[in-house]
Symmetry: C2
Subunit: 675 residues, 2 copies
Amino acid sequence: MDRNDFSTPINLKNIEVTDCFWENKMKVVRTEVIPYQWRALNDQVEGAALSYCMHNFKAAGKMNQEKAKLGAAFQEPVYTFRGFEALPDDPKHPDENKFYGFVFQDSDFYKWIEAVAYSLISNPDSELEKMADEAIEIVCAAQQDDGYLDTYYILNGKDKIFSNLRDHHELYCMGHLLEGAVAYYEATGKDRLLKAACRFADYAAEYFGEEEGKCKGYPGHEIAEMALVRLYEATREEKYLRLGRYFVDERGKRPYYFDGEHPQDIKGKKEDLRYEYHQAHIPVREQTEAVGHAVRAVYLYSGMADVARLTQDETLWLACEKLWDNMETKKLYITGGIGGTHIGEAFSFNYDLPNDTAYAETCASIGLIFWARRMLEIRSDSRYANVMELALYNTVLAGMALDGKSFFYVNPLEVFPKACKKDERKLHIKSVRQKWFGCACCPPNLARIISSVGSYAFTENRDTLFVHVYMGCRITKCIDQEEIEVSIVSGFPYDGNVQIDVSAGNVPFTLAFRIPDWCDDYEISGPDAAKAEEKDGYLYLTKIWGENETITLYFPMQVQILQADPRVREDIGKVAVRRGPVTYCLEEADNGKNLHMLTVDCEAEPETEECFIEGERVVSILIPGYREVIPEGKKLYTKAEKIRNMPVKLRFVPYYTWGNRGENEMTVWVRRERA
Amino acid sequence: MDRNDFSTPINLKNIEVTDCFWENKMKVVRTEVIPYQWRALNDQVEGAALSYCMHNFKAAGKMNQEKAKLGAAFQEPVYTFRGFEALPDDPKHPDENKFYGFVFQDSDFYKWIEAVAYSLISNPDSELEKMADEAIEIVCAAQQDDGYLDTYYILNGKDKIFSNLRDHHELYCMGHLLEGAVAYYEATGKDRLLKAACRFADYAAEYFGEEEGKCKGYPGHEIAEMALVRLYEATREEKYLRLGRYFVDERGKRPYYFDGEHPQDIKGKKEDLRYEYHQAHIPVREQTEAVGHAVRAVYLYSGMADVARLTQDETLWLACEKLWDNMETKKLYITGGIGGTHIGEAFSFNYDLPNDTAYAETCASIGLIFWARRMLEIRSDSRYANVMELALYNTVLAGMALDGKSFFYVNPLEVFPKACKKDERKLHIKSVRQKWFGCACCPPNLARIISSVGSYAFTENRDTLFVHVYMGCRITKCIDQEEIEVSIVSGFPYDGNVQIDVSAGNVPFTLAFRIPDWCDDYEISGPDAAKAEEKDGYLYLTKIWGENETITLYFPMQVQILQADPRVREDIGKVAVRRGPVTYCLEEADNGKNLHMLTVDCEAEPETEECFIEGERVVSILIPGYREVIPEGKKLYTKAEKIRNMPVKLRFVPYYTWGNRGENEMTVWVRRERA
């Protein structure tokens, strides 16, 4: 780990995304997702599961008023366990003094305000900002005098705060508050929510820590680690970094903190497996395999990378690298999805990547992008950016319908709708995207990553601008007092041409371009007199840049037919199709029913064909293949004759566009014709 | 349906099994399973789950004594729900007045006594018979004055008998009592248990029925239907047949009887699906698809066939044929297993036959044999006998270790031990056979079918002897006063030669030999002057038979490589190997790890090789194939090059012998090499 390799994300204020592909996605988020989610948070969406998110903040604020009125006479509610989710007897008339929804319901607002913040940077919108400011007032009104802010315990009884760290998400909600508050502050300069975030973080920093007498707990659902680092970087307040590092360091130590909270759960599972779900089974520095709940895992690994970078912690960095290597080489779907099993929404064992029962949660791939970006901040190695690109263009985009009106939480690589309804092992697989859920983690997470995509595509350090993901944009880079304009035009993800125009007043600096893993060779022309060097999958161009210098890059997007390591049982004898950053799939809409009866001819020459799916311009891929013919007669088992095949032309479409043309079969992996 | 086609099973007293293959299996049952189970029923097996079966009968008998002593002063226990299984606080010291175990625990004894009965016929054993007589006394002592006999309610409170027919198995236990009692009577001539059975059946016949004022319920778990028919055929008491027919006729009528018992369960499932698990979703005559809990299903279908035969009910017979056709052509594993999903231990939808998550319970294949035999009694069509043979030599035999000391309840067609431990969707799959379970349905079921196998292999009517399954035996057939000796010597299941010697004093009659579906052509020599005719898969030989006439049949057992209907998604691109009645599999023990990386060359010439597996002489099959080579480098996804294969010789062993050489991978379906 070398400080000189470090980089930081480009400030969103210095990026203007001009790319029609991404502009369109950001527009959908801005015009559909953010307004829809605001209505959802306020329980104004007909037919959607009720959120009670804003209801809870209002109820807590109301209680604060009463407390102020009554003073000592005020009766604090005493906690009696209400389970993981609370619902009113009559959903239409919730008690305005009670908490409803999941224990982590507060976080839905924090994710929403974070997305709003990013959106306000790229698209100032005074009306939206006014709405956000008013909402922030409601949230801040719920905060306790001591700084504590979690409506579940405020309304149900503060006598039990932090008593169930394993399951009750207080520190998870705090983490999202910090993320949202910093984002809104950076976007608007308004610190109302930031101050509330600091007060809650101060409260937590007093409560938890290695110091004598402080609670030795840590979050059951990670995110506070990276959020505290972000708050530290926004405020430079050391104690936030210290608390974040403490949460990382304490995790998994024996005796297990969670055992003390839940003595009744100790028996049963072997000790070393007991907290795999929470990545708390062993200290993080000893972890070498990505395990447990996939979202929690990548949130933790993101925090580990942050802490490693800021504390120059080599052993922590080494753990991050080992975990990454395990994830990338044994547990990553070809769609950039992670989490092979719905049981625990978790990573399965090495090479266990089932397609039709995959979990591959949208949020997990978003978290994977968080992690990748943080690895890149430490070391610009394209292996991280390759996975970032894969997750971004495939599982993440698949999580949202092209019109932004419905969402996938689970992203299987093979769907047979009948089985999803009749086979209870596949009930978690939805064959069509759903409206807002009670547990609405994925839609707001999608909103915040898409509206801040520029801060993942590019990082910088003093004299270098790193291009990790190619997207059209205008970037302003400052070196000392000089402002340099870098504008990029790209045809990604369907066309490999990239043009970069640089305007600088004879300033020496470096542009570092990622060379994608999916292209064997690339072309570059211009600029003159640049020192060019390839390192760790990046092309470094160094020179003194003048006005209007142009570089053109070409990354040929050949259709690639890929196979999985044969240890992946579910993919044996099958292939998948990828072109550039886009992973493809077969849909019934283009190829008829019974996709499993199709085989693809790997020797044949693929053709590409532009087409439109629900208004989205995509490049589809045509490859000759065969369809097995259903024999006459009804015997279930017959002598294995030569297989009767009918030649067909398979049409592959981008995975992220599947399920936008009604319920139908889909598969990413297709049997290869060996004849 | 034509009376003249009807046949009845050969009385076990007229069959002596001389076949070394089956004699060995029966010996294992006699010397291992039956004594082991007796100890299990009495909780004398170290380390095995406690049964409490005999404990419960003794406790009920003790209560009867007290009742007799106290008379009117006796306090009947009042029922308070105790759930589906009751366990003592201290397993070593159960309360001798209490009921323990599952609600259906009584049935374990009834299955055991049935197996004992069959065993006593083929192998008289005064000591075993004495033990059985004493056990019967204990059971009869538990019977109530009114004839009721179910220890769960006797001990927990008779005020609630028959109040939960859907779940509480009273009529299931009664059914097994009837089966066991008739078997023991027929074996020994002793009617002590038969009288108890009749008294309980009389009680039920008073309680249930179409008549005004009687309860309109029917069993939640079927078997009483066929058991009542059996009791009727043993006693010729019309009311037993009437009750059996009533249970068949009433099933599935609206409003649902079970709804009345369980009003709280009505909401949720669609009405027409609500009782699929119990085959009570629609009246049985309207049922065309085999659905729900597989054991319950085939027990019901067996009872339907019995009732159809005895009441000449064409519509009921038609329903049986439709259900059979659906099961055989869309829901039957190539191992003779049924039940594609462990959820509800049930049939899945058409063509959904997963290999690695199959349920395919041993008991379900045993029930399938019950059903097939009953279909054969109505119509000697080889389609029924073909499936009977398939189930018998494969899934049923696989249910028991070769040494008779451990058992499979679930019979998957593909096992990867690591996945069975780590993938919670496969936790029902055991990769090694288990000792006695608390829910011990399969071992005693295995004991009773194996010890009575002769009554499935052969049926007869006045002038015809049907040979459905070939096994060495001596059969005495009576026509009028004449006794005819038919002795069969066969090399089945590994050799297709069969020799039949007939000694008859010039009596005209017919021998009907099943022509197995797995042989395309067969050879016959002798006897002279016989009229030979083929019909419905049987070869009928009619003549006046003299002394010492010999027929030799030869059914060539070529190795067959089979494919499934391509609509079976799990088997697409794969083949399975069968030879004669035996389905084969690959085991890690012979072929190394990662069986999924193997392919079989369907064009190659298979060889057979005799070998021994744990002392069992079997014919193994060697077929050239390939093993995919794990590439260098650790990239999870790479360009689909020509697959790197290593030629190997695959050794297939009989499926029923798998898992006898330690825990290892196994698969029935193997990918076919298309190159």
